[in-house]
Symmetry: none
Subunit: 194 residues, 4 copies
DNA sequence: GGCTAATCGAGACGGTACGTCAAGTCTTCCA
DNA sequence: TGGAAGACTTGACGTACCGTCTCGATTAGCC
């Protein structure tokens, strides 16, 4: 089907080193201070070798961010409230104490430069969270906690949108109980029966 | 107290031309493609003259974005639902059809580069919207639509956060009825009495 | 002595295509703009295949120039003057209107990069001209036009050196009667008896 | 007449350092191995500072070669033969033992890349030698050594052309008595009366 | 009215990174 | 083994801005 692979095949180890170097660079220098030149050096690889794989900085960063997604088990704590609280709190925690903040910020900047790559990015970590939310929502409906006709898009958007705005867009601090208050308000909005 | 201004005073016209040029640059080239050098040229001003006013690109952009805030009358349509719908819909409209999208994106990027400037930015257009929301919330409490102990921070965060996430962070399209659905869900969350 | 040829024999057609491609490249792009990569592409051959035959660009070009030498009959017009005029005029003509100019220039550049290859090149087209001159000089001596003790090296150097300097080194124009004036002066220098 | 000098004036010391660095580079690495980047580094100057002065490598080298011309007193030894011998011998000596060889070779290469710069170069050291020759020729005519109608262009071309061909184009050795034999033959060609 | 001081335009300067090109070597598959 | 394809390292290309600097020419207030 696809043509036979001709010529010297790409070195998988090189692939890995580039992505790792990019990730490290994002975490400790940020998107703007990151340069293709620097990533290449950090990866111990020639600049051209990076450009052969990624047309530019934006694509490189997108790939690095995508590679940083780590699977987390979807919580199943018995009630929608507990599940959502767990998801939101984890998210806030990773934004503030893990590397997720740096990654999301980098993603944003890359998309700001290259809006055309947005579809490529949507399939990434955001979709992951959306899927998690969908799972816990389905279980809640099955348990009768949520009315079947609930506006599913909103469940995700309300809970995560507010966190994004404060944490990412506006660089505002997020209080310790913020997640719980957020979920409490949103649940009432969905008409949760408890 | 402050010493008398010695030497040649700054040219106010130059101030204006720089900010206008920066705004125009943000709108039609975006933050990353914007250069201090380019803004200076566009303003018909020497590079030094820009640097004398703003230490760098981030500060220049922040000033330009701040200058783009336009006062809008706070809606007073008789019910919290109508007022919030108006605020949210206006916001969505400006994000998608006006220059607000470009401005917010630029703001974001400037803050991503220079998180230390965040407080400086919070006083800007975001605070403006927050104040608008507070006004309509106060009226709703006075009318008895909202319980007095409502989580006020959430009113703003829920309604605008979701819009930010979709429109700015993720570059996703926003459906025509999105604002109404958003407000409907949120209002239930606040325990609105209708 | 030499080991029996093992493995797949070299393709003679490939040899030819490479040299032709190199010659074409010299003529229409010049030495500096010529790249091994480009020659390989032009010849429809892999870069490796070129490198297997020639260690580098200089050697490739030398081979191409050498292959461009074309045998011309030595003139025999009855007098040294006429013979030399013919040789010099032909040379000037080829330098200016044929591809010889490009070839000599490429040769020069290759030697400038790799002076160690000079002996390899001397055996080339220069020797060819030198031999031509020697033939007409011998005939002139036999005819009694030239004294037997004439400084033979000078015959060639004077007539061709001046042309080289103007045409190749200095890129100066060469007047139509330049060759005749040159030969006239030189002949007197040799003590020609007419 | 000329417009007033605006902006910060160029640093003359920088001018000098660049030219000196280029000259040094020509002498010890040759034209091809010379890079604008390297010259900038050697001069302790930013790459852009070089490019601000010279559009490219060819122009830089031309300027460096031009700056290497050193005034030498025109010989006046009493006879055309002695004067020409002195000029030619000096030239040969500088080609072989001084830096002139490297300079001329670099000049050649620069012109091969950029033939359009030829006029710019002709004004250089070549013109200098031509002028020297003209001076000694004038004196010879005044003394009655040369007929007034001598082909002046040939005096220079014959004597120096042969040297160029052997020394520069063909990288051939030049015998110790080569200059004398050359001048002897040429002088007869000019119809010198002794 | 001259002095002092800052503004403004212009552009040089040392840097950093850009994205591209070619050099020459190496690795893999196919014939 | 020869040949085609292409990955890989290396190094330079010429360009764009960065933020700092040094000029000359204005343009004020103050003595």
């Amino acid at each position: 089907m696809s043509s036979a692979p001709r010529g010297r095949p790409r070195d998988a180890d090189v692939d890995a080193r580039i992505v790792l170097a990019a990730r490290a660079a994002i975490i400790d220098t940020g998107y703007d201070a990151l340069s293709v030149e620097g990533v290449a050096a950090r990866a111990g690889v020639a600049k051209t070798t990076v450009y052969r794989r990624y047309p530019g900085k934006a694509e490189l960063v997108l790939a690095a961010v995508a590679s940083a997604i780590h699977e987390a088990p979807v919580p199943d704590l018995g009630s929608l409230r507990l599940d959502l609280e767990r998801l939101v709190d984890d998210h806030i925690h990773q934004l503030q104490h893990g590397h997720l903040g740096a990654m999301v910020r980098a993603l944003q900047l890359a998309l700001a430069e290259r809006p055309d790559l947005a579809p490529l990015a949507s399939g990434g970590f955001l979709a992951e969270r959306k899927r998690d939310v969908d799972v816990v929502v389905d279980r809640a409906i099955a348990r009768g906690e949520l009315p079947p006709g609930v506006d599913r898009e909103m469940v995700f958007d309300l809970c995560f949108g507010a966190v994004f705005m404060r944490g990412i867009v506006m660089h505002l601090p997020i209080a310790r109980d913020y997640g719980h208050r957020l979920v409490a308000t949103a649940l009432r909005g969905y008409g949760v029966v408890e």
